[in-house]
């Protein structure tokens, strides 16, 4: 749908600068003034008043076709005669045509603007739902690449086939460097390699190729100094550059390197840095007969050395279909600093119609973070359930353990951006190709349909 010119441009004079030539003539049908901005270069010119397509090469402006413009035909977004600087070259808008194609009963409409510079010749701007393309005729013939789906090669770049459709011209105004007719049709084939699109346009007599580059509406507005804002781009266009310009594989390569570094870090800490040193171990029991009055007690003092690092408190019990709650406080004997935490340990098991089952665990561990070195003891206050008989448990304190959940979080932190970028890129490509002849995801339909 980005097909531009059906005929190549004719180069303007190269030797001397010349001012744009403008010639005023009258329409042979309605007498309205006809302005020829490309005098000598345009093939046809359309009377803005009576919509007669006139032969611009004929001094008498022979009428080639007349057509009835629809009432309320939207005017071109860039008015004819508007001048602007596109890619450093001054151009004047001299022609406008509305074209359309029908796919599965839906009519898709786009607009094409003919630009002219007396030294550079013709250039084209196409617009579809706020997506613009800067189009110029190919300087050489693209070569087909045998593949499925088909591809084409042009100036060393390979373009993937996007869509082939029949385009019909529905409205024209201004001048055209070819014999334009309303109602004429052409087979348009687009090959894409964002941000470029390679288009062939096949009519009865000839095949022309053009190359387009995606252009943002804001650039067009700035180039032609147009008032207001350009129309909002809708959807994803066939050669629209992806928001993630760089290769996602580069990010995944970096992710793989970081994941490996994380593994090395984990092993290095576990083997060389983490002390994993047992500093205290004791066994206790709560018994129904002796569990009266104040039940809390303190352990012997143990030393936590080295540096500020974590402490793991492990609890092992002999629970059977029961639970126990243990209030712990790790207290620094010298400073009075304490870490207070409660641990519930429960273990249930049995058998039902589904077979044996278990729930919970007899063992528990908690890692107290960033405990400075010093002399510590534990205050333990057990809370057993009512009706208990005897629960035995042991407490083990280990200094400086590896916390693997932190590595898990780090892995997720590394994975998420790469995954998000990939998803964004894939979703963008899915939306791009959804409008093509080769959608990435096809919607299912039954054979009965």
């Amino acid at each position: 749908m980005s097909a531009g010119p059906p005929s190549p441009p004719r180069p303007g004079p190269q030797q001397q600068p010349a001012t744009p030539q403008v010639k005023a003539l009258d329409c042979p049908k309605c007498g309205a003034a006809i302005v020829l901005r490309t005098f000598g270069k345009a093939e046809t010119v359309v009377c803005d008043s009576c919509h007669s397509i006139l032969d611009a090469q004929d001094p008498k402006l022979k009428i080639l076709q007349t057509f009835q413009a629809a009432v309320g035909e939207a005017p071109p977004l860039i008015p004819l005669g508007r001048r602007g600087k596109l890619r450093g070259v001054d151009y004047e808008v001299i022609g406008f045509q509305r074209r359309s194609t029908e796919v599965e009963g839906i009519r898709y409409i786009w607009h094409e603007y003919v630009l002219f510079n007396p030294y550079k010749g013709f250039r084209y701007l196409t617009e579809y739902h706020g997506h613009w393309n800067d189009v110029s005729p190919c300087k050489m013939l693209p070569t087909p690449v045998l593949s499925v789906p088909p591809k084409a090669s042009y100036l060393g770049e390979t373009y993937k086939h996007f869509q082939t459709c029949t385009a019909m011209t529905g409205f024209v105004v201004g001048e055209f460097p070819w014999q334009v007719r309303v109602g004429e049709t052409a087979e348009v084939t687009d090959f894409v390699s964002p941000p470029r699109v390679l288009s062939s346009e096949k009519s009865e007599n000839e095949v022309t190729w053009s190359i387009g580059e995606y252009t943002y509406g804001s650039e067009v507005w700035k180039a032609f100094n147009l008032p207001g804002d350009p129309p909002q781009a809708m959807g994803v266009y066939e050669n629209q550059p992806a928001p993630v310009h760089e290769s996602v594989s580069g990010v995944w390569a970096a992710f793989a390197a970081f994941a490996l570094a994380l593994l090395v870090l984990m092993i290095g800490f576990a083997v060389m840095i983490s002390g994993n040193k047992e500093v205290f171990r004791a066994s206790y029991a709560v018994d129904r007969n002796t569990f009266k009055g104040e039940t809390s007690f303190v352990t012997d003092v143990f030393e936590l050395g080295d540096r500020t690092c974590n402490v793991e408190v492990e609890t092992s019990t002999d629970l059977n279909n029961n639970w126990i709650y243990l209030n712990y406080a790790l207290i620094n004997q010298d400073t009075g600093q304490a870490w207070d935490f409660g641990r519930e340990v429960s273990y249930y098991y049995g058998r039902d119609s589904d077979g044996p089952w278990t729930e919970g665990s007899r063992n528990d561990s908690v890692v107290v973070p960033s405990v400075p070195p010093g002399h510590y003891y534990l205050r333990i206050e057990p809370e057993p359930p009512q009706g208990f008989q005897h629960i035995g448990y042991s407490v083990r304190v280990v200094r400086d353990v590896s916390v693997f959940s932190i590595y898990g979080l780090a892995f997720l932190a590394l994975l998420l951006p790469a995954a998000a970028l990939t998803w964004r890129r894939l979703n963008f490509e899915r939306l791009r190709w959804a409008e093509s002849d080769h959608p990435m995801v096809t919607t299912g339909s039954s054979e009965d349909d």
């Binding site: 760089e246 970096a254 390197a257 994380l262 809390s296 690092c309 304490a338 206050e381 979080l409 932190a413």
Partner: protein, 61 residues
Amino acid sequence: MLRRLYLLYGMMVLATTGYAQYRGWSLNRVNELKNVPKSVRDNPGSYRSVYRSYHGYTGGK
């Protein structure tokens, strides 16, 4: 540009992970208190845990 940002981000994640391991960070919820009286050692009942009075687990299938 994006790859550079990711490289920078990844290095920050690795550095933070290394620092967290060295300083002994943990994901467990532990209540830190200051100035627990020394008398607790002789009279454990004078200290009351903020997690005390657990009402009991009623688990089991």
